[in-house]
């Protein structure tokens, strides 16, 4: 009989009846072998590890994190309600103290979904972590500061986007260098919006980084930063495609490395993201993460075909990572030196491509520079689908001036041919859509 040191909740939702298409990596079979491994290892019989049923995220939950165009219903399938609902359930278990930590082993994933949603990007429609985080903030207002550590191999450009302007959510992404992998972003200079400088930290790792390099970054960069940020809650976006066997990436991480990472990070909530080596990686990585969360010895969890010598990184990779870490630390330490001066509104313009659905979007974003709150912002977004919308976000704890500005943007959109104008008012928990 094995007893866990920490009470760990597991929400397992493999969505055995959902796929993007029959041969897509995001298909029914994805978590089948993980379930087999977890069952065969008897993980759920460990005293302290308990499986719970997923829940269903509501439209209201989703609208706290997203502007779905034209509406939520047309952008998601019930599978997304369940995978986001699974995350919410994991959060509820932690927040109510039923468990010490929880792992939402759900699909479909979410970290490529941005604040505005015209379609699916990188297999993601809605950002399941963001939906969960906003649910936590709504229901547990004492949770002020949240850190998301994203260990998926792909840069979580969606989570970065949702929290770009939010100084209370620290987003750290460790991923394969965007010059070599989708979505091509995630560089150190993407450092957060004008009101949230230093709250967005990207660690682009060179291809073939293995356990040593990844754990070096964890120990010398992620953990010290978290130590200074002092989050009330830590979330791991636990993508598993850094694994040496993953078919669509080029890294060399192992199940043991993932377990060690989670032991070090000790997150309150883990959320499964990507990871498509469904037979050779996921069964072992997920088992390792669950055991690490529960504080159970994971040292015997190993891939049957593991050959440590073959995946050991070149010393030059380690040198590169050490230099990168130093640079990132300097950047982090100087975060207070950066300041936007003399401007009330900062604008940016960008193009976003939805690879899964083949949609392109153009965004004009305006944010109010504010010392008293996270700052209200608006997004003018037009997509190749024909929709042209305006989305206004009034953040949690908005100061009176930002609230006034946000409401003014919503009331007077400035042009009258938007297909719809949206308002997300966090403090009042209101989501309003106006069709001119």
């Amino acid at each position: 009989m094995i007893t866990a040191k920490k009470k760990t909740g597991l929400i397992f939702f493999p969505a055995y009846d959902w796929e993007i298409s029959p041969s897509h990596p995001e298909r029914q079979e994805r978590l089948l072998y993980t379930q087999d491994q977890v069952m065969e290892e008897g993980v759920l019989d460990i005293e302290g590890i308990t499986e719970f049923k997923a829940g269903l995220a509501t439209e209201k939950d989703i609208c706290r994190a997203h502007f779905c165009v034209p509406d939520v219903e047309s952008r998601i399938t019930p599978s997304h309600n369940v995978s986001a609902g699974g995350c919410i359930e994991a959060a509820r278990l932690v927040m109510e103290g039923v468990v010490d930590n929880a792992f939402a082993l759900v699909r479909p994933p979410g970290h490529h979904a941005m604040r505005v949603v015209h379609g699916a990007r990188g297999f993601c429609n809605i950002n399941i972590e963001a939906v969960m985080i906003e649910w936590i903030r709504k229901n547990y207002p004492h949770i002020k500061k949240i850190a998301v550590v994203d260990t998926d191999c792909h840069h979580g450009d969606g989570t970065q986007d949702v929290y770009w302007h939010d100084p209370n959510v620290l987003y750290i992404s460790l991923h394969q260098d965007g010059r070599t992998l989708y979505p091509g972003s995630g560089f150190p200079e993407e450092f957060g919006g004008p009101n949230a400088l230093g709250r967005n930290l990207n660690v682009p790792l060179p291809p073939r980084t293995s356990d040593e390099g990844m754990l070096y970054v964890m120990e010398h960069f992620v953990m010290p930063v978290l130590g200074e940020f002092k989050p009330d809650l830590i979330i791991n976006s636990a993508g598993q495609d850094n694994h040496y066997s993953d078919p669509i990436t080029n890294m060399s991480f192992t199940a043991g490395g993932y377990a060690r990472l989670n032991e070090m990070l000790s997150p309150h909530i883990c959320v499964l993201e990507g990871g498509y080596s469904i037979e050779a990686a996921l069964p072992y990585v997920n088992t390792g993460i669950i055991l690490a969360l529960a504080g159970v010895d994971y040292s015997y969890i190993r891939e049957p075909d593991l050959n440590p010598a073959r995946i050991k990184e070149d010393p030059r990779i380690i040198d590169y990572i050490k230099r990168l870490t130093d640079t990132l630390l300097d950047l982090w330490n100087s975060r207070d030196n950066y300041e936007v001066k003399g401007e009330e509104i900062v604008r940016r313009s960008r193009n976003i491509f939805y690879d899964t659905d083949g949609i392109s979007e153009n965004q004009q974003e305006s944010v109010r520079v504010c010392k008293n709150c996270s700052g209200t912002y608006k997004i003018d977004s037009s997509a190749s689908t024909g929709y042209h919308i305006l989305a206004v976000h009034i953040p949690w704890g908005a100061c009176p001036r930002c609230r006034e500005q946000g409401l003014a943007w919503f009331e007077k959109p400035g042009r009258n041919n938007y297909s719809a104008v949206y308002l997300q008012d966090m403090d009042n928990d209101e989501y309003t859509v106006k069709i001119p």
Binding site: F13, S23, R27, Q28, D45, P304
Partner: protein, 551 residues
């Protein structure tokens, strides 16, 4: 005629049934010699033995052997490969870890080392061990390591139990426990079956002999010889099956209460089918793969001790002895019923004397206090029943369809059996706000359950068309299949296998084959479908035998 005997810890019930008629019933005190108890129980029925064509036993033999650790020393040879350290599941020095690794799809990564296995077996033999259990991880996906180890050692031991034959379900630690217990209780069970056969023959009973299993089904004596571990916890199964046999509404969701002296057993029947433990039953603090009816036992029965904690009346969880009105030491709910004039067999004066001090301390009328005692006892049961139902409704689901169409279990009615059931029924109706049926013959419901339970078996088939392999662990099948095999073909193969092996599996009456689980996954590699992974669980349906339910 069918004879059913339920040997309980204190009492043994026997019943003789013909068609839909109960010919005779008997209740005797269980003696130390179980074979003699069986002889006495059959004798007490006073029936003509020549007409018996089926005898079914529910015994505490294997349950007690395990919980009291009265079993033969058994050896275990376990191969695991990477994963949680299996040595954490070893509980005697005779468990041995050997080389060998198989993955989740049944592919071999590390072969077994015959020399190592032989060395371990020699060591066990030198210690005088006669039975060995063999378990490998993922043996239900590829039993070859278990079977090769077995063929290396089987000549050296009286019996060898293989993990994959005991259950087709995944769960390596439970497989280790289940196989160990099966090996350890086998000599006890074999001796018992032999003695019972002899005793029945001496009485002139030549009917086939069956044993009740934890899942509320029966199997033949020869199957029980090989899989004795499946007879654990057949007592609670007998009472749930008895309730099912006596149930007059098979469409309802019924909350079953078996109210005894010390405890009340809670179970649920959904449309005539008992709710099972999802992963297997627990025994003696160990988790097993033995399929069993989900039963929650709560320490509130007719003889539970009634005490005061401050101003609060407590019922149970302990029993000091019989009720005060029957000469026992402490006040009990039965005494409260005696005070209220409901339990006329007891001495009301003694009951009043036992409850009076409590009423005195509370400064309340003794009838009022008696009513409270009964209602508190029912409250304890109702609370546990609520937890039971919540647990069942928390069973996770894995498809969007089930998430969007949840089947919420909500009982429509209560059925109570056991000694105090009839007296408590009006109180239960009031507290649960539901009809509470107490069937006739509720006193021998357990024996009825044993007598009338169908034979049941479950088999698991996993077919991997990419690897061109089909495994059915319970039957030891490991077959090459066509890369184009379909789910329909797999179903046909499974049904055929179930029929072909009926007698080996201990199925003797005609049983309806039903599908428990069916899943098909496309195996996609490099963006094209390379095969199908199909999983199928078939069973002969649990329930009561046709003569009873159709008559």
């Amino acid at each position: 005629m069918i004879v059913g005997i339920d040997i309980g810890g204190t009492h043994t019930d026997a019943v003789c049934i013909r068609g839909r008629n109960i010919i005779a019933t008997a209740k005797i005190v269980t003696g130390d010699d179980l074979v003699q108890t069986i002889r006495d129980a059959i004798g007490a029925l006073s029936i003509n033995y020549a007409g018996i064509r089926r005898t079914v036993l529910s015994t505490t033999l294997s349950t007690n052997a395990i919980t009291e650790k009265k079993y033969a020393p058994a050896g275990m040879i376990v191969s695991a490969g990477p994963g949680i350290d299996p040595r954490r599941y070893f509980f005697t020095d005779d468990f041995h870890l050997v080389k060998g690794a198989i993955d989740h799809r049944g592919r071999e990564y590390v072969p077994i080392d015959p020399a190592e296995v032989t060395r371990v077996a020699d060591g066990l033999k030198k210690k005088g061990i006669t039975g060995v259990g063999v378990v490998s991880k993922f043996s239900v996906r590829n039993p070859s390591h278990e079977t090769s180890i077995s063929s290396l050692i089987e000549k050296e031991f009286e019996h060898v139990s293989l993990g994959h034959t005991l259950s087709g379900n995944l769960n390596f630690p439970r497989r280790i426990h289940t196989t160990f217990f099966n090996t350890a209780v086998m000599p006890v069970q074999k001796r018992f079956v032999q003695s019972v056969r002899k005793a029945l023959a001496e009485l002139g009973i030549r009917s086939p002999l069956f044993f009740l299993k934890a899942d509320g089904g029966t199997f033949s004596d020869s199957a029980a010889d090989r899989h004795p571990v499946e007879t654990i916890l057949s007592g609670p199964a007998a009472s749930m099956m008895g309730g099912l046999a006596l149930c007059d509404d098979l469409e309802a969701t019924t909350l079953m209460l078996d109210i005894g002296g010390t405890t009340t057993d809670i179970g649920v029947l959904i449309k005539g089918v008992p709710v099972l433990e999802p992963r297997g039953v627990d025994i003696g603090g160990y988790k097993t793969l033995v399929r069993g009816i989900k039963v929650m036992s709560v320490g509130a029965g007719g003889d539970s001790r009634v005490s005061l904690a401050g101003q609060d009346i407590r019922v149970g969880p302990h029993r000091d002895g019989p009720p005060a009105c029957m000469g026992g030491p402490s006040p009990t709910p039965m005494d409260a019923l005696a005070v209220l004039g409901q339990f006329s067999k007891g001495d009301r004066e003694k009951a009043v004397r036992a409850i009076a001090p409590i009423a005195g301390q509370l400064g309340q009328d003794i009838s009022e206090v008696s009513r409270r005692i009964v209602s508190i006892m029912i409250d304890v049961i109702r609370k546990s029943a609520g937890e039971f139902i919540d647990e069942v409704n928390r069973y996770p689901v894995y498809t969007i369809f089930e998430m969007l169409h949840p089947e919420v279990v909500k009982p429509d009615r209560v059925m109570a059996i056991g000694g105090p059931a009839a007296l408590l029924s009006p109180f239960i109706e009031e507290s649960f706000d539901m009809r509470c049926a107490v069937p006739d013959n509720a006193m021998v419901a357990n024996a009825m359950g044993a007598a009338l339970a169908r034979t049941t078996r479950q088999i698991t088939l996993t077919a991997d068309t990419q690897l061109q392999r089909m495994i059915c662990p319970e039957l030891g099948l490991d077959e090459k299949i066509s890369p184009t095999m379909s789910m329909n073909e797999l179903k046909k193969r499974g049904e055929q296998a179930l029929r072909d092996n009926a007698s080996r599996l201990g199925i003797l009456d005609k049983g309806e084959i039903s599908i428990l689980e069916e899943q098909v996954f496309n195996i996609v590699r490099g963006f094209s479908t390379t095969g199908k992974n199909m999983r199928l669980k078939l069973q002969t349906k649990p329930g009561v035998i046709d003569e009873w339910s159709e008559a």
